[in-house]
Assembly symmetry: C2
DNA sequence: GCGCGATATTTTAAGTGTCAAGTTTCTACC
DNA sequence: GGTAGAAACTTGACACTTAAAATATCGCGC
């Protein structure tokens, strides 16, 4: 099958109106978010000697004074249960969170921020917000709101067209 | 791949002019690319029993009939040198690539696709393109080209404002 | 020829991520 | 009240990722 024939075949199969453009868009989207994420990870490491998953766990706990169970944490971060176990264990070693068994259901353990954890998180969150603001500072308000709309359309398209 | 939970603290930060908007934009960008990436990873696993990093290595090699060195590979994929070593080792076990020392500089090893690797990659690449096209099929051509422009502006802003 | 810094790569240690299997505890039904 | 199955969580095996240390080789100056 020649290249041209293959392309024709593929386009008929997928009903693909703008195939190559989609791929280019995806690569550009991925590249942007990877660059930003890398910067955030690097700054978290440099300034706070911590990692993005740790930061995310602290963020989830910060708005729940009564704590979260392991399962609630894994649901909030969209990661597996076993993954949360490891991250929380390391946060406990650093005295940033505590895990207590205070429910009458003894299978459940509740994780909550310590005072040290809350203070550390607040410092990180302030810095985090400034990094992001700085990275997007080259955009106009109009560009930002257009992007918000278009990305909402992207998410809608993804959800309407499950692969 | 942590991200969805970064959203948790966005509401309570006051500060720079369009600061909250930047954060929201970042979370939306991250959320879109994470959803797409997860789908691609899941499909690669289901249909081809492979992973995204493996696919990326094969893609990089497919464009270079003469092969790439380990350093060229790590530069192409923007990952560390040691990372490439492990991925290539597993691809070699699966007979999808070969590593030969054919330069007069004996430090350098050249990695290239085998016939099996090339054929496997071409099947995957066709499927990959269809998945992406399907996911973006809810967008108009105009929305796609606007997004391309705006994401180019994002990348420009990031590069002009190093954190 | 010798030595020394630079370059290419691998190895190592630690963290993150998945899934599957195992453990403990609870619940519901007989 | 005993037991089967569900639920919460941990553990284990494997893959990916990084930074840093280790290894091997090269090239250059003397």
């Amino acid at each position: 099958m020649s290249g041209a024939a293959t392309r024709t075949f593929v386009e008929k199969l997928g009903g693909a109106p703008h195939s190559k453009e989609s791929l280019r868009l995806w690569l550009r989207l991925l590249s942007c978010s990877m660059i930003i994420e890398r910067r955030i990870r690097a700054r978290l490491e440099e300034e706070f000697s911590t990692t993005l998953p740790r930061f995310d766990v602290l963020a989830a706990l910060e708005r729940e004074p009564d704590g979260l169970t392991m399962s609630q944490l894994s649901a909030a971060l969209l990661v597996s249960n076993g993954n949360i176990t490891g991250i929380v264990n390391r946060l406990i070693e650093d005295l940033l969170v505590v895990r207590t068994a205070e429910s009458d259901d003894r299978r459940i353990s509740t994780v909550r921020l310590t005072r040290k954890g809350r203070e550390a998180f607040q410092r990180m969150a302030r810095a985090h917000e400034q990094w992001i603001d700085r990275m997007f500072s080259g955009l106009t308000d109009n560009q930002i709101s257009q992007l918000m709309k278009l990305l909402a359309a992207v998410r809608h398209s993804i959800e309407e067209n499950p692969v």
